[in-house]
């Protein structure tokens, strides 16, 4: 793996020597990577390369898989997220996640966004909660489209709107990191463009890590790109370098479509 001149002065998250096992099978092998606070980091690689597994280890989503085991160290602001003292619920509020398929709760648009702030006790009164909902929906670029129908079900929205609703839901608890696992793969090009524009606007407010199969998307939205293959991190670099002049033969073969 080449690291070039990629020192991130104050990484939001830092993984060191991370291995992930599902039972006897090792899905991630000795991955070390720093995620920058003000950057969008893209994870790319063929199916089964471990990029989603690694993404999920960043907010302990793998805890829900009984056979999954993580070794090595993953830090959020220098704090070991796998330490016994770490509150997983709090962790997932700080490190939010958006999934491949939009998964709004079968509740109203308002309640979808208000759910997190309510359970985390972020809004003392109704006015505070209204403010949080409006702000989250606005930041997710959805407010103008839904402000007159907040009581309607979130599942009644279009796919692209549902995905932005899920992003609004993640933003509402004021996270520090947002993990996105192929957030656009179920969306049409226009909805995709809106999400990409949203990612661009959210950059700097949250550290963003996105897993995508669409290399053009990785090229468009990210400043750092990590290429995974067979559970290892093959190359991590500036997105412009990875897509114009990758250092590793495997990276080049993958991004130029010679893989396989």
């Amino acid at each position: 793996m080449t690291q070039d001149d990629l020192t991130i002065a104050d990484p939001k998250m830092r993984a060191h020597g991370v291995n992930v096992f599902y039972g006897d099978k090792q899905a991630i092998n000795d991955v070390s990577i720093d995620v920058g606070t003000d950057l969008v980091t893209a994870f790319i690689g063929p199916s089964g390369c471990g990029k989603s597994t690694f993404l999920r280890s960043l907010n302990r989503m793998n805890d829900t898989v009984a056979s999954a085991r993580v070794t090595g160290r993953i830090e959020l602001d220098g704090e070991d997220i796998y330490a016994p003292s770490m509150d997983v619920v709090q962790l997932r509020a700080r490190v939010g996640m958006v999934f491949q398929k939009p998964n709004p709760f079968p509740k109203s648009i308002y309640d979808n966004v208000a759910y997190g702030p309510r359970i985390h006790g972020l809004a003392p009164g109704k006015a505070d909660l209204d403010g949080i909902v409006e702000s989250a929906l606005t930041r997710a670029g959805l407010w103008d489209e839904v402000k007159d129908r907040l009581a309607e079900s979130g599942t009644a929205l279009s796919g692209g709107q549902q995905q932005r609703l899920c992003i609004a839901r993640a933003i509402a608890v004021d996270p520090e990191v947002i993990l996105m696992d192929e957030p656009c793969s179920a969306l049409d090009p226009i909805a995709t463009a809106k999400i990409e524009e949203l990612i661009h606007e959210l950059r700097g407010k949250f550290a963003i890590v996105i897993v995508t199969h669409n290399m053009q998307q990785a090229a468009r939205v990210s400043q750092r790109t990590a290429f995974f293959h067979l559970g290892t991190l093959v190359e991590y670099g500036k997105t412009t370098d990875i897509f114009t002049n990758p250092r590793q033969e495997r990276t080049k073969d993958y991004i130029t479509g010679r893989y396989g």
Partner: protein, 240 residues
């Protein structure tokens, strides 16, 4: 030369091969135009000179075809990494090859204007110079076809020989003009021709530099070329 795997999408390789084929053909035609223009100059063969002028249309047409194919491939295949670098280089290389063709045409057009000058002693030296320039053009395009960065570096190194030829011919012609004021017009034409040859060598160098970038992803360093900044020797000579 690195071993390059095929693309999963075979049609992409077909597009790339077609593009490389067109560029090779264009380079071959430009090289031939140069050699024919110089033969026409040396022998006073006006028919051959006319053939060079006419043949330049085909070179121009090939440039347009490569441009169209490259733009189309960029739009449809979204090439990345070395493929992307090759597309961009292809676009730049064909415009340089087109210029080389124009210089050959320019030489051919001068043949008719100077039928009394076969005895000027600079001409045999210019024939030798043109042989080297043709080799440089040939090797530069070969280095592109083969993705051979070492060959590209050797082209840029050899361009120094062409510059030396030019300086020597410049001096010879200036002396000749002082001694033979009646032949100043013809000599001036020969000077332009020598300058054309020198520029063609520079263009071959430009192609080689682009090939180096395509293959390695790095711009060629001055020290790899082993020379002083571009054209300084020639420039000094002209001022002197």
């Amino acid at each position: 030369m690195a071993i390059v795997n095929d693309h999963t999408v075979k049609a992409f390789d077909e597009d790339l091969n077609r593009l490389r084929g067109l560029i090779s053909e264009m380079g071959g035609r430009a090289e031939q135009a140069l050699l024919q223009a110089m033969t026409a100059l040396n022998t006073g063969d006006l028919a051959l000179a006319a053939q060079v002028v006419e043949g330049d249309r085909k070179i121009d047409a090939l440039e347009a075809e490569v441009e169209q194919l490259a733009v189309q491939t960029i739009a449809l295949r979204a090439p990345m990494a070395d493929d992307l670098r090759e597309m961009i280089a292809a676009l730049k290389i064909v415009s340089v090859v087109e210029r080389i063709g124009d210089y050959a045409k320019n030489i051919a057009k001068r043949v008719a204007l100077m039928d009394q000058t076969r005895s000027i002693e600079a001409i045999p030296v210019m024939m030798s110079m043109s042989g080297i320039v043709a080799e440089l053009v040939h090797d530069a395009l070969d280095s592109f076809a083969a993705r051979d960065a070492d060959l590209a570096v050797r082209v840029t190194v050899r361009d120094k020989i062409v510059d030396d030829f030019y300086n020597s011919i410049f001096r010879t012609l200036v002396t000749f003009m002082m001694e033979n004021p009646k032949h100043i017009t013809e000599s001036a034409h020969l000077l332009f021709i020598a300058k054309n040859l020198e520029r063609m060598g520079d263009h071959a160098t430009n192609i080689a530099e682009m090939v180096h970038y395509v293959v390695t992803g790095e711009r060629m360093e001055e020290r790899e070329r082993g020379e002083t900044p571009e054209g300084s020797a020639a420039a000094e000579q002209e001022q002197g």
